[in-house]
Symmetry: C2
Subunit: 471 residues, 2 copies
């Protein structure tokens, strides 16, 4: 029995061992702020359980003490969902010690992983079994699969493989009463009542703590073709996307749109970047993968791009002739975010729309933003294949950070209102966290908000699971 006079951190240490409960300011520091540096909180302690049973015991103890919990994986989220509030009462439950690959089943094409396994390690374990785990994000070296599950992460291969939700077959989670929901089934068909795992995927830790999952694996790609296409308009980009989907079907893995300005920024801040197709208003980075032997992927991509140029939907195209050239084309796209940061202050939007609504949305929204912020510069890029745009504003040259960032809320409203008018989403892949709680209430219908609140109240009646996030 624990000493009844023991403090909560002392009693947590009784569960996970002394070295795995952090309370010293220097020790807990890395757990208190989000990756973008927008949120900074305080915590009573950080506890680092190493097993599902330890997580369950931690939850039961915290519930008994009325202590709110904040689950945290790699702490790479973009909406403050894993950052404690500023009151210093919360316990951060770090999952990184739960880092075992529990099983890999090649015949069933599944992998069973604990929440704290870094995404790159899941990819690696799959590759070692001759298979492929397709989820891929910029932060894959440090984000964890538990965080990916809790935010339903998207990334660069959604067009072909779906979001994290679509990659998940089974789940294990600790509920708000400390009981363990054990549903680690590796089944592609299972119609036996409500699909409970769906509740926890994308819930950002507000309904329970995900501790493990069974994920789908796929045949490994053997051939990869990367190309850049120059385009006259966003309408042409959509036409090209449709043509490539028809020509390539599921071999089309990525279709990334970039405006000329976003590409110029990327090159400006990364000297030595290639400029294969200068002088066009829009560009699409096309990625095709083939896992079959003997299928002529390169010639199919070449023919598809040639016929798109003939049909007028693409102005020009350049196919990478080596892995190194492909990598340099991808760097153009991947460097946009960093280039925007170096260019100065910026306001970001992670939105999605029906692909068909994108041109009208862009025309309308650009007009409204230009009238509200005459000299701000639009930086538009993103996963057009999924209808997901990073629709950002960079400050006019020479403008100071703080004065431009004061416009954030007004700019968000203009963009998100336009998104809503066109049937889109104010958060395509980053989630809600703390950042977009007001948007959730504004843009979801009252029926949706009420139903979410009812589910939250049912699963977490005392409101101790990551309070102040999502809802």
């Amino acid at each position: 029995m624990a000493d009844p006079g023991a403090t909560l951190p002392e009693r947590l240490a009784g569960i996970v061992g002394g070295p795995h409960v952090l309370t010293a300011p220097a020790d807990i520091e890395p757990y208190l702020a989000d990756w973008r540096g927008r949120y900074r909180g305080a915590a009573r302690a950080v506890v680092l359980p190493a097993s599902t049973e330890e997580v369950a015991a931690v939850v039961r103890l915290c519930v008994a003490e009325g202590a709110p919990m904040v689950p945290q994986g790699g702490n790479t989220g973009l909406c403050g969902g894993a950052t404690p509030d500023t009151k210093g009462r919360e316990i951060v439950v770090g999952l990184r010690r739960m880092s075992r690959v529990r099983a890999i089943d090649a015949d069933n094409a599944t992998i069973t992983v604990e929440a704290g396994v870094p995404l790159a390690a899941v990819q690696q374990a799959a590759a070692e079994a001759g298979l492929h785990f397709p989820l891929s994000l910029a932060s894959e070296g440090s984000c964890t699969i538990g965080g990916n599950l809790s935010t339903n992460a998207g990334g660069t291969a959604v067009l072909r493989y779906g979001n994290t939700r679509e990659l998940t077959l089974g789940l294990e989670a600790v509920l708000a009463d400390g009981s363990i929901l054990s549903a680690l089934r590796g089944l592609r068909k299972d119609n036996t009542g409500y699909d409970l795992k769906q509740l926890f995927i994308g819930a950002e830790g507000t309904l329970g703590i995900i501790t493990a999952a069974v994920m789908k694996l796929f045949p490994a790609p053997r051939t990869r073709v990367t190309a850049l296409a120059a385009l006259a308009s966003v309408e042409d980009a959509i036409a090209l996307l449709a043509q490539l989907k028809t020509a390539l079907s599921d071999r089309l893995v990525g279709f990334e749109l970039m405006s000329a300005f976003s590409l110029a920024l990327s090159r400006k801040h990364h000297p030595g970047s290639p400029d294969p197709l200068p002088g066009h208003p829009w560009y699409a980075l096309v990625q095709a993968d083939e896992s079959s032997e003997g299928a002529p992927l390169a010639s199919i991509v070449e023919a598809a791009l040639a016929s798109a140029i003939e049909a007028g939907s693409a102005s020009d195209a350049s196919i990478a002739q080596s892995a190194e050239q492909a990598q340099r084309l991808w760097a153009l796209r991947e460097n946009v975010s960093e280039a925007q940061r170096r260019e100065g202050p910026n306001i970001k939007h992670d939105i999605s729309l029906p692909v068909s609504a994108i041109p009208a949305f862009m025309r309308e929204c650009a007009r409204e933003l230009e009238s509200a912020f005459p000299k701000a510069r639009l930086v538009v890029f993103g996963h057009l294949g999924d209808g997901n745009l990073h629709y950002n504003l960079s400050a006019p040259e020479g403008v100071e950070a703080s004065s431009f960032m004061d416009n954030g809320e007004r700019a968000n409203r203009i963009v998100h209102d336009a998104v809503a008018r066109h049937g889109g989403s104010f958060s395509a892949e980053h989630g809600v966290g703390q950042l977009k709680r007001a948007d959730l209430v504004r843009y979801k219908s009252p029926v949706e908000v009420a139903l979410m609140r009812a589910i939250k109240a049912t699963l977490d009646p005392r409101g101790l699971m990551n309070p102040g996030k999502v809802l």
Copy 2:
């Protein structure tokens, strides 16, 4: 205002119009029994609303009157989920008049359909837009998309395209308080709070009534290759499946296993059926689709099968040389159910397992069944690619129906216990309905059952939405 003395059917008629409320025994007859003839109920009335608003008004009225509701689509379910109970108090809410295709968006590759649209009509509307809706079931001419959603239907193309759940982007449903959840978004990425549509998919109408949905569409297949492979064992079938997945990737759409006995039954009761590869213990029907132009699907399938024969995982193979030959190969598989019916009484199981667990499961389960029912004949076939088996028992020759069917519960227990030991599911694609309620409580963990009941109580506190089904 309705006459306060009016009966419930009269007041329902005030909502949907007199001709759309059925109470005469002959009129309601088709709504009272399930397709397999296992369940037969009674109803106070059948109401046939034509719009979401009418469904909502019907629900509000029934709730006010305390009348339980049973939603029904094409009434082709296999577990009695759409059949009223025998007390005669329930209102059957038939959705078939809600049969509009509300929108088709080729650029976004989505279709918005009302619940009562027959599955074949959804396929047809997609084809007319040059696209493909891949859900395909034996009952597709009469089942409705609302029923497919409510049961998370599987079918013959799950290996490539997923279940109905994976094909759904947006949903509209009437909740148990008569409010309308409107989430008909055609977005491939949308991380804005809990994914509410997941609750209603597969819930068999116990949490609300699905009225419309936005479904994903795909490029239409251009080339199709169908082959039959002869196999020495189930282990070989699994090896062949892995080899074909590697060789064909997403071009592998179907991989159907058949035992020699199930094939023999199919041929016995369908004279004129082909017998391309006589004398092997197991067979796999392989279906590959290609939607790209210029990709040599036939030669890839041929090479993959040749190298499987060389590697010893397949004993022999025959590739259909025409659409007519392909159709005749598929008929071998599709006729098994009917052949089993003609052969006499049988006990059916719709189970799924991790693919890797199937050989051990089969050995164990066959041994137990043989010892319990010495002369019964195992009829094993199904969607091996998804781990989904129709693992059935036909009566020994000459045995009377009723005496054999008395064994149903004992046989179910043997099979489902073995399934559970191997991490499988007692209902892969048919759902729970009335038929498998006891299995749900037996094989799900108490935590899962408690969580399902909590969700049911939250969404349907008065228990009026399809009571006595699932839970």
